[in-house]
Amino acid sequence: MPDSVQVDLWRQKALAGTLTDEECREVVAHLRADRIAADMRGKAKRDLRGPAKTGDELLDELESL
């Protein structure tokens, strides 16, 4: 996520009426990159966990203990 100092700079420029279209595109590019990175982190976590075990598989695991 863009750090709060950067966001605040953008905010102040927007409120002063000095935030250009190019800077706004930069804001969007940062946000898009963050979203994609978060999606990839989420997918990686799900892949590590693997598919959910069935009830039978869990019972077999319990019995083998």
């Binding site: 953008w10 905010r11 927007a14 409120l15 595109r25 946000l31 963050d34 979203r35």
Partner: protein
Amino acid sequence: MTSFPAIVDSTIMNNLRNCLRKMQLKDVEHWKPKGTNVHLHAGAAFAHGLERARRSYYEAQNDASTALAHGTRALMEAYGDYQPPDGSAKTLERMLGALEFYFAEWPLGSGAQPHKMPSGKYAIEFSFAQPLAIRHPDTNEPIIYAGRSDMICDFADGVYIEDDKTATQLGDAWTKQWDLRSQFTGYCWAARESGIKTNGVLVRGVSILKTKYGRADAITYRSAWEIDRWLNQTIRDLERAKTAWGSGYWDYALDDACNNYGGCCFRDICKSEKPDEWLPMNFERRRWDPLERTETLLEA
């Protein structure tokens, strides 16, 4: 200044239907909780961003990247210097991220497109103010029903009202809650009064959490008889409010309405034997204008 509303909207009607006493406090005497509600403030800023992006793309014919840049700036301007409560997910950063997410999920130029009105204008932010067949108790003028939907759109060979919602949680319950929602029936009625035939309402939901976003879509339909029933019921409900105004006594709900959705903001007031002494401590008087969509601070 205490006055019976000359203009009502879906929020005032919801207050009326939940609890007449709540309507009296909020919409007749104009008591509102002190401070800014983060959900309302962030939601309004988000709506500004959506509107600006759509106008930039469809009206000004800018490309999608420029349009989103314009929407992003508009959101920042509308959010302003507001600092949300600690722990809130609706910070400026998260709302900006939500706007980028929205147009990634529902890209400009595809799917539902703004409907072109007979005037040639695109129906972005469809505002309306229509007279009802019920008279104001003091002025005797027709009470006005006002509102604003985010868009009227062409979608799947039909014409739909479109409304965007921000939420903390989406799911089956979110999708199913719209079928009888008065706000949307009112939109369909207003469109009909404006000469626009609509098939129903397309609702888009974006959930904004601290680490992720989510989306949901729902379509809800309104038949002509449902719209007629809504109109009749709205007038009947306003008659009840007029009776309360005339008698000086506004009925209390004293039931689930007091506790739903996090609890009514006047719960502590209604627990007090002397509410007038407590109101100025945590509330201030601000009058909401449904047409101008502004709030004006009043004297206590």
